[in-house]
């Protein structure tokens, strides 16, 4: 296995160079073949890794040492890979879904002039994401972390001629920087406390118990700050909805399936650290669930199809963080996986709808697309059912596991999680009915089904959304069928509490949730099948305007900073620095104006002065006047 692991990230990097350098030379077919091909080969290797990876309880991770990035005195940072069950699972998600989205992009972007550039960016993203999950130390993860942030920036601002899109790209980049500061500080702190950045060494020295609780609390909080940036949690979540300015495949790949789950990966990777920081876990749970609730309510009143999905993504990530806060790491990773399937499916479906409607994103102008786009319709319906958590689709299993962990950990968090799940099914079916139900509301549109290269990935993702949940069947239905728990048990200790609840309670919880979800879907059908929202008033206007979070940030952060800048500009720059510099100039001008009167231009005068000077000098020299 060591022989080919390094090929997994190398191939997408190679694709990036070939497509990036040949973007004007190669034909679109060649570019899409190379772009998708390298990811597909990586996927095959990832499958091989997945089959051979040491998994199960007590499995030792495989460390593959490449070379040293830094090596002097006491600092020693190698470029090396750590392959274990968690990594191999993420490798599958990244390369598998990445490949499907590459294929889809070949159809979606076929008219775009930046086709080669787009594919090279996508390949570069895959490369950095693989580095992020494969690295064996925090530094490697940081390289990937920054790299995916860069690719996200480049792809959000892909259509850079639109100023709004450029603004969205900058917003994403700056907000991520705030999180990255947390990552950097956490790294420094880890180095100071542990003297190394290798995961295995850091976690091994935790058992000696020499690290103070304060340091662990601080490190975990800083790591969580990093996670809130990348995974769009309060207070840094506003960039993700704006990030939908990028092409739809990008939204599916980066801003739904892979990059935004980097925060979950980070916390799961460091679960041994977080287990020792109960305070941080409490904060993670509450931030996660609050984000989830806030964004779920916003999603209920958005009319832009991609915005709904974006807020839904933030909301689902919030649920994952809440269950991380409960210590249910496997449940969160499980949901990362199923969410990657159905959210990529939903985004690609939305992209297919947008493609068919000639770049129309407003759902209030759609409707009745069921008969024009049968494949897109069916697959989108599967995606909606999956995310709503209706058995036996994948969303049910992962969401049930997360909610159960919340129920056991904190009843208040569970109550909010319950509400969020109901809201999720409501807004997803609102989206479904507004898009596909009723009749077409725009007369001059000619919707058409998308080409094969787009519908085939949709179909594959739909199948995955249906069956993806069976890797984690809870004990309620079948004994010892939770394959994921067993698979990851070498990385994450299984959640002990899951066995303490009686089957009757579990049945009750599932039953109550499903009843509420069905009612929500029914209400969505009543309200939105062929109809659109009325003019928003009161509270729904607040939701439509996203709780005014952007405006609040504008008022309490952006404006004061700009104000401070203006004050500095006015009073420090203009009246301070400029006055001082100009003062030096005008003072010397004033001085020279008086001195220059002796510059008469009369040469006889100059010589006289020179003679006087020489005589004075000689006088001083010989007679020592001073």
């Amino acid at each position: 296995m060591e022989k080919y692991i390094w090929l997994i990230p190398l191939l997408p990097l190679l694709g990036f160079f070939i497509n990036g350098l040949g973007r004007n030379v190669l034909s679109k077919n060649v570019i899409s073949l190379i772009g998708s091909g390298v990811v597909f080969i990586s996927f095959i290797f990832s499958v091989l890794v997945f089959m051979n990876v040491p998994s199960g309880a007590g499995a030792e991770p495989l460390i593959i040492h490449g070379f040293d990035i830094l090596n002097f005195n006491s600092i020693h940072i190698p470029f090396s890979f750590q392959i274990d069950a968690l990594t191999s699972l993420f490798l599958l998600i990244i390369t598998g879904i990445g490949f499907l989205i590459h294929v889809y992009s070949a159809g979606y972007m076929h008219l775009d002039e930046g086709f080669g550039k787009f594919f090279s960016y996508l390949n570069l993203f895959i490369f950095f994401m693989l580095i992020l999950v494969m690295g064996s130390n925090f530094f490697m993860m940081f390289i990937g972390w920054e790299g995916v942030g860069l690719c996200s920036f480049l792809l959000i601002g892909f259509w850079f001629k639109n100023r709004d899109y450029v603004g969205a790209a900058k917003k994403a980049f700056i907000m991520n920087r705030i999180g990255d500061v947390g990552f950097l500080l956490a790294m420094f702190w880890i180095y100071k406390e542990f003297g190394t950045l290798e995961y295995t060494e850091v976690f091994a020295s935790l058992t000696t118990g020499q690290i103070s609780a304060f340091a662990i609390g601080g490190i975990t909080l800083l790591l969580f700050l990093a996670a809130t940036g990348k995974s769009a949690q309060i207070p840094l979540f506003t960039w993700l909805p704006d990030a939908m300015a990028g092409p739809t495949p990008v939204s599916a790949l980066i801003h739904a399936a892979t990059m935004v789950t980097a925060g979950i990966f980070l916390i799961t990777r460091c679960n041994e650290l977080f287990e020792l920081a109960p305070f941080t876990k409490e904060i993670i749970a509450w931030i996660g669930i609050t984000t989830s609730l806030v964004t779920a309510t916003i999603a209920m009143r958005q009319n832009d199809i991609k915005k709904v999905l974006a807020y839904s993504t933030v909301s689902q990530l919030g649920l994952m963080f809440a269950s991380l806060g409960m210590g249910a790491y496997v449940a969160a990773v499980f949901h990362v996986m199923t969410h990657a399937f159905f959210k990529a499916l939903l985004f690609l479906g939305a992209g297919s709808v947008i493609h068919g409607m000639n770049n129309e994103q407003d759902m209030s102008k759609m409707g009745g697309l069921k008969k024009f786009m049968p494949t897109t319709h069916t697959t989108m319906l599967i995606g909606c059912i999956a995310i709503a958590g209706i058995p036996p689709l994948s969303g049910f299993f992962s969401k049930d596991e997360m909610l159960l962990s919340m129920f056991l950990g904190n009843k208040a968090v569970y109550a909010i999680g319950f509400i969020v799940s109901v809201l999720t099914s409501f807004y997803m079916f609102r989206l479904y009915f507004m898009t596909f139900g009723g009749n077409l509301r725009q007369e001059n549109a000619h919707p058409h089904e998308s080409p094969k290269s787009m519908t085939i990935p949709l179909t594959i993702l739909a199948i995955l959304s249906i069956i993806g949940g069976f890797v984690g069947i809870p004990e309620l239905f079948m004994q010892n069928a939770h394959r994921l728990n067993q698979f990851l048990s070498g990385v994450v200790a299984p959640h002990e509490a899951a066995h303490t609840v009686s089957h009757l309670t579990e049945w009750l919880l599932i039953g109550a949730l499903l009843a509420c979800v069905s009612v929500a879907i029914f209400i969505a059908h009543k309200m939105y099948n062929g109809k659109v929202d009325q003019e928003a008033k009161g509270f729904s206007k607040v939701l439509e305007n996203k709780w005014y979070v952007d405006e609040i940030y504008q008022a309490i952060i952006v404006n004061p900073v700009m104000g401070l800048g203006n004050v500095l500009k006015q009073y420090v720059e203009k009246s301070g620095i400029v006055q001082t510099v100009a003062g030096v100039g005008s003072f010397s001008y004033y001085l020279s104006k008086n001195i220059k009167t002796i510059q008469t231009g009369n040469i006889g005068m100059y010589i006289l002065l020179m003679v006087i000077g020489i005589i004075t000098g000689l006088g001083i020299f010989f007679f020592g006047m001073f």
Partner: protein, 108 residues
């Protein structure tokens, strides 16, 4: 042998004449001549002292080098005069007189 003080006084007189000439006259040719006069008065002094030095140490090479140096100075001075005169000719072509007062254009 003529005492050294004679040379000293002659040289001082020549130097003073030259200096006063440079300071008071406006004609640039006369000023250049006065500068040459000052230079040669110093040359004279140099020859006189080196001769005296040699006379004190007859039979040795002491003081020879000073007299050699004077010859070199005269060669350099000749070159310098050539440059000075050519500058003056150019100057004359520009302003059509030899009055040094018309050399004050940099002031304005």
């Amino acid at each position: 042998m003529i005492p050294i003080s004679y040379y000293l006084f002659l040289s001082l007189a020549l130097f003073t004449i030259g200096m006063v000439g440079v300071m008071t006259r406006r004609n640039i040719i006369i000023m250049l001549m006065c500068v040459e006069l000052m230079l040669n008065s110093v040359n004279l002094l140099l020859v006189a002292f080196s001769k005296m030095h040699h006379a004190k140490n007859l039979g040795t090479e002491a003081g020879i080098d000073g007299q050699m140096l004077v010859l070199f100075i005269m060669v350099v001075a000749a070159a310098e005069v050539a440059i000075g005169l050519s500058i003056m000719i150019l100057f004359y072509r520009k302003v059509h007189n030899v009055d040094v007062q018309s050399l004050n254009r940099l002031k304005h």
